[in-house]
């Protein structure tokens, strides 16, 4: 956070300033929607390694970071990209080949953990996962936890309801707060100070943003001064949480950005095919990420014509009748 009036910067600077090797990162979005892909690709391009990633169901972004060799450990609820990859492909491979450490939670638990971080409390309770292996199986050992400063000693705990059977509840699971070193989100509109306006579902972006020590925002539109202060009921994240704001049209591409563009089914299908093969995936990294200067490079590679096909219908907010087979 800072209270500066102008936090606009470029993506290379923002990533190199805040995303340090080994740091604890979270990214916004959900499966194939509003993932901060420009920022994800920039992290891969800068070859930042050893990241500890917190995710609920941030599909495509998670898989690309893993495939890009940036991730050492992962706390996650769901790694899938809808119809394009029921299990994220590079994730699956990396876990099966033990290239990354992974620890499982549920979506609600991960969201509560970000919320606890945002609220400044060490934990939140839920009844979810009682009786399940999410409680019994820890991905990170006690030893690793104790040796890693940013991790709590316990994955989660089951405790008795301190108010007897109030709310017909005898037990709860308490999940520990997360305060990521950096959260990356992509939003429809932000202003120079970092006030954010998300359109459509917010997923867990608001909690992830407020829980973070540093918040990097990429946006489709950057607004001068007071534009977003008019009708501020629509702003979900106030500027006090923001560190850097970067204007990147199509910054969520190839995932969707409601009311701006849809996901690109062809890109996601091609990605899935290439991710399935190590050689092809190596070529993918070279051609689509390392061989390009920046996100603009990717957009040029894909071409205006493709981007036109995914342009959002102003009525529905997605690309109606897009060929998604």
């Amino acid at each position: 956070m800072n209270l500066k009036q102008n936090k606009q910067t470029d993506l290379k600077t923002a990533i190199s300033t805040y995303v340090k090797p080994g740091c604890h990162l979270s990214i916004g979005g959900f499966t194939i929607n509003r993932n901060p892909m420009a920022a994800v690709y920039e992290i891969i391009r800068q070859k930042i390694k050893g990241l500890h990633l917190y995710a609920h169901s941030n599909g495509q972004g998670v898989d690309e970071l893993i495939g890009g060799h940036c991730i050492a450990s992962l706390e996650i609820a769901y790694a899938g990209s809808g119809k394009f990859a029921s299990t994220c492909i590079r994730f699956k491979k990396a876990v099966q080949e033990k290239q990354i450490l992974v620890e499982d939670y549920s979506n609600y638990q991960m969201t509560l953990r970000f919320l606890a971080g945002a609220m400044g409390i060490p934990f939140l309770p839920t009844r979810s996962s009682l009786g399940s292996d999410i409680i019994r199986q820890w991905g990170f050992s006690s030893e690793m936890r104790k040796a890693t400063p940013g991790l709590p000693d316990d994955k989660l705990k089951v405790m008795d309801n301190p108010f007897k059977d109030w709310c017909d509840t005898q037990k709860v699971v308490v999940v520990p707060a997360i305060n990521p070193d950096v959260t990356l989100i992509h939003v429809q509109q932000a202003d120079l100070r970092g006030n954010c306006r998300i359109q459509g579902l917010t997923f867990a972006d608001v909690e992830q943003a407020k829980a973070a020590k540093h918040l990097i925002i990429t946006c489709e539109e950057i607004c001068e001064d007071d534009v977003l202060k008019t009708d501020s009921d629509r702003n979900q994240i106030p500027f006090i949480h923001a560190d850097a704001v970067i204007h990147i049209p199509f910054g969520a591409y190839p995932t969707a950005c409601y009311r701006y563009y849809d996901y690109d089914p062809r890109y996601l299908k091609d990605y899935a095919a290439m991710a399935n093969n190590d050689k092809a995936h190596g070529d993918y990294l070279e051609t689509f990420i390392h061989g390009l200067d920046d996100h603009q490079g990717l957009l040029e590679l894909v071409g205006q014509e493709r981007l036109k096909t995914i342009q959002a219908d102003p009525e529905t907010g997605y690309a109606s009748n897009l060929d998604r087979r």
């Binding site: 809808g82 119809k83 499982d104 996962s129 009682l130 999410i134 509840t169 459509g200 579902l201």
Partner: protein, 253 residues
């Protein structure tokens, strides 16, 4: 009128949905079942996604619960906190019916969608819980879609991702969970339900042309087949509404 297996499965699930249900949907066939119910037998039922979309107007079939198509003309566009809170909420949550899938299921309706093999050295890694464990923990009724294969109906799950009846009658209460659990399992061969007393799975219906023996051959677990009936195929009206209103782009069917 000809119908496919997927259509049969979808319609069987849809028939279970009531007018005062809030339907928690995943992607694929579960979303289709919810849309079918709304268009056929439960017009006032409410479609609801873990991403925070409530009562979406689904003009096109979403390919993920995070698809922008779930955001159009909702009653509210919230986030994950809103959706799961509504399921855990003692008032609204009691109206939610969940539709889930998994890689493995045991006789008490517990689900695995995390790993095959050891958790730390898995042979196969799946997506993980997502909201599945949350839904299974919170809601009073759920429907489970499965492929009917021996390695999927197992005596012991490799990982218990989403609680069903845990170890049978009283298992949920002992674990600290609210009342609930799966009401049925719909597969490509048959329909299983759960005994009221033991909470064990039994074969309640087979599709035309499928014998109970064939069903058993495709399960590691043994289930009671004494109560089995033949399932009623989708009617012409059901099929028409399903095809025209729910998946006219043929993305799932």
């Amino acid at each position: 009128m000809d119908y496919t297996l997927k259509e049969m499965m979808t319609i069987i699930a849809a028939r279970e949905i009531r007018n005062d249900d809030i339907v928690f949907c995943g992607t694929g066939i579960s979303m289709l079942a919810a849309m079918a119910a709304k268009n056929i037998n439960a017009p006032e039922s409410v479609i609801f996604f873990e991403t925070g979309a409530l009562d979406s107007r689904l003009e096109e079939l979403p390919l993920a619960v995070g698809d922008s198509r779930v955001m159009y003309k909702t009653s509210a566009n919230g986030g994950l906190l809103d959706s799961f809170a509504a399921m855990q909420n003692p008032v609204t949550g009691r109206h939610v019916i969940g539709i889930l899938g998994a890689a493995q299921i045991d006789k008490f309706g517990n689900l695995n969608s995390t790993v095959i093999g050891d958790y730390h050295s898995p042979e196969i890694r799946f997506s993980g819980s997502g909201g599945g464990c949350d839904v299974a923990s919170f809601v009073p009724r759920s429907i489970i879609f499965m492929q009917h294969e021996k390695r999927k109906f197992v005596n012991r799950l490799d990982y218990l991702t989403s609680p069903g009846y845990i170890d049978g009658k009283g298992g949920r209460k002992k674990a600290g969970l609210p009342d609930g659990g799966p009401i049925m399992v719909i597969t490509n061969l048959a329909v299983m339900r759960f005994d009221e007393t033991t909470k064990e799975m039994y074969l309640s219906g087979v599709y035309p042309g499928i014998t109970p023996e064939r069903v058993l051959m495709n399960m590691e677990i043994e289930v009671d087949i004494s109560r089995v009936k033949e399932e009623i195929p989708p009617s012409e009206k059901e099929l028409r509404l399903l095809r025209e209103k729910c998946d006219h782009q043929r993305l799932i069917l």
